[in-house]
């Protein structure tokens, strides 16, 4: 048998029918559904179709749930039509809903992993582009739109065109206080937001092997920010240790067989990729996005790029829009940029280890005056675990708000969010997207790591977390 990539091995296992021209009908092992799927259910119900496999369908209303003080109110059935709709559909069709008051509720990509609903070798689809997060477990996980959701609900399959394979080799070792987030932001800056279009991207190399699962999720989460629909990492002992004992992990009697199978899925040593890229992790410093897409990112010691003379046409128009929207001056340093809001949350960077790092930075310090800062844990389970360690107290004594779990200010879609970010305000955010108006109309997002976000909260401006001591923050 010829050498194969992880992606190809999983893909080949799931093809039900070859539709020609590179398209296949693929079985979807896990369909994760969020509260944006309302119109999909409407279509399904109108056609009188049942959910084909409710036992492989899971849901959580993560996008519209309130995550601040208003949480209790929106947990009431009548106040959040999106959550009500999802609840009605879960009852009608008999699939598992992690409801707003469920102790296992959370951002769907976070709980899919926590509950071990996503497993190595599986296919996982969800109507959200960051589903690629779950590829970190060694799975094919991808985001899709409403029409594809309806197709999966009705058939548990999806029509997909097989992408090319790309491998990104991350060599070397990250410097202290430089995180997985900095690494993936640096990659987005280097490859650009369209750098991986048409490819399934496998992250490999020593730096990835050394990472915890939490860090690997942060990496795969942003594959889509480089244009890849799929990001994945070959499963190894870190993966298996993470999964062992989780609610939907294989039972003890199936565990050894499962692990043996998962090991066999890792990319073969001699497998060929259609494209390869390399990044030296040791060169990466803490990163901050300055513009209106994640590729417009620079190191904390760098200056806003001056590119007007080098670009033409549509690329120039995009750059000029970014400079204009950001309100920053080409040639000026990014460090020192004052901020109004700090948000630590999202499926990218709100797992327990992220909150620990941020708490370590803020411990014994105060959020700068005039800055509004808060934390929204990735799941209610993360929230409980953080509280058991006293992290909530550290954040609150520093002046941070301590919220519930949900997408919160990541998408600016939660009911209270659009009142928070006023036009022109600057947000230091551990999320994954800095698009125009992403966190509320007119808001400007700076993507960075949890440590850097925490440092920004204390200093009231964007600073290198490594210099926080020196400036007496």
């Amino acid at each position: 048998m010829s050498a194969k990539t992880l992606f190809d091995k999983i893909w080949d296992r799931h093809v039900i029918k070859d539709l020609g021209d590179g398209f296949s009908l693929i079985f979807v092992d896990r369909h994760m559904v969020n509260d944006m799927a309302g119109r999909g259910f409407l279509t399904l119900n109108k056609r009188g179709l049942p959910v084909a496999h409710p036992e492989f369908t899971f849901a959580a209303a993560d996008h519209t749930v309130a995550t601040l003080e208003a949480r209790k109110a929106s947990a009431k059935p009548d106040d959040n039509p999106y959550a009500v709709n999802l609840r009605d559909n879960s009852r009608q069709h008999g699939f598992r809903l992690f409801d707003l008051d469920d102790p296992d509720f959370g951002i769907i990509h976070v709980i899919s992993a926590e509950q071990a609903l996503a497993l190595p070798g599986t296919t996982i689809a969800c109507g959200d582009s960051h589903t690629c997060t779950l590829g970190a477990l060694g799975a094919i996980a991808w985001g899709l739109g409403q029409s594809d959701i309806v197709h999966i609900l009705a058939t548990q399959t999806s029509v997909q065109r097989k992408p090319l394979n790309m491998r990104i080799n991350v060599t070397g070792r990250l410097a202290p206080d430089v995180s997985a987030k900095d690494l993936i932001l640096a990659l987005a800056a280097e490859l650009g937001v369209a750098g991986c279009v048409g490819h399934a991207v496998e992250f490999a190399g020593d730096a990835i092997r050394r990472m915890s699962m939490d860090e690997r999720f942060t990496i795969c989460n942003m594959a889509v920010e480089m244009g890849a629909r799929f990001g994945l990492i070959s499963p190894d002992d870190v993966t298996f240790d993470y999964l062992r004992g989780r609610p939907s992990a294989p039972d003890a009697d199936a565990w050894d067989a499962a692990v043996a199978d998962w090991r066999s899925l890792a990319t073969d040593a001699t497998a060929a990729f259609d494209a390869e890229r390399t990044l030296d992790a040791s060169r990466v410093e803490p990163q901050v996005s300055w513009g209106i897409n994640p590729g417009q990112t620079i190191g904390i010691s760098a200056t806003i790029p001056s590119l007007s003379g080098q670009l033409t046409g549509s690329a120039l128009a995009t750059y000029e829009t970014a400079v204009d929207y950001s309100g920053l001056v080409p040639g000026a340093p990014i460090a020192g940029t004052p901020i109004d809001i700090v948000f630590i949350g999202s499926c990218n960077n709100a797992r327990l280890s992220d909150l620990r790092v941020a708490a370590r930075v803020v411990e014994g310090r105060r959020v700068a005056s005039g800055v509004r800062a808060w934390v929204s844990p990735g799941s209610e389970r993360v929230r409980r675990e953080a509280e058991a360690e006293g992290l909530d107290q550290i954040f609150m004594s520093a002046g941070f708000g301590w919220g519930h779990s949900g997408c919160s200010m990541c998408a600016g879609a939660g009911d209270q969010m659009r009142e928070i970010g006023a036009s022109g305000q600057r947000i230091a955010s551990t999320t994954n997207r800095n698009f125009v108006g992403r966190q509320g109309p007119g808001t400007r997002t700076h993507l960075l790591s949890p440590a850097m976000a925490a440092a920004a909260a204390i200093a009231g401006r964007i600073v290198d977390v490594r210099s926080l001591e020196a400036i007496g923050g």
């Binding site: 497993l119 399959t157 244009g227 549509s314 109309p441 007119g442």
Partner: protein, 215 residues
Amino acid sequence: MAEPLTELRGTAVPILRDNIDTDTISPGSAPPWRKSATFGERGSATLADDLFANWRYTGEGRLIESFPLNEPRYQGARFLITGANFGCGSSRESAVWMLAAWGIRCVIAPSFAEIFSANCFANGLLPVVLANDLVSELADEASSAGGAFELDLAQRSLRRPSGRDITFHIPEYRRQGLMRGLDDIAQTLNDLAAIQKFVATGRRQFPWIYRRAAW
């Protein structure tokens, strides 16, 4: 199920920027002056109004006249000519619904984000990929001369207002789907037996994935 697309004739509106994301096409948080509009269900009048809302209106809700979608000469356009990696970011299909509600049926760009492209086909919109220089040329033609573009999907060709034809590539599976207004679901339901067989085999081979658990 989408309306079949074989031929299309109309003017083209150019919005020549790279990496236009779906948050920009279909803003998630409504502008403050449009309190009623939220993510999800919207009538098609509002869908059309909210297309590119953050670029089309000032913070107070006034039309920004210089934005192409607001220019009188581009009203009624059926083609959109735009930059590379169009539709990147969020999977929200409302980006396609809004373009369709405004009247766009064909988007021409050097490249498209994959989820957006799949969403286009699902709604009977055609994304046409052409070389960067050619896209700029077409945008110039659309803005300087105006006039109608003509699409002939059977021939995979696009006639420019100047009369010259361009042929483009499109996966055959997608072309057939657009021309017939193919309903993928109805088609897949014919393969139910194969799907059931897949699950039955899976339960034996990989019981930890396909068991019938009490979740």
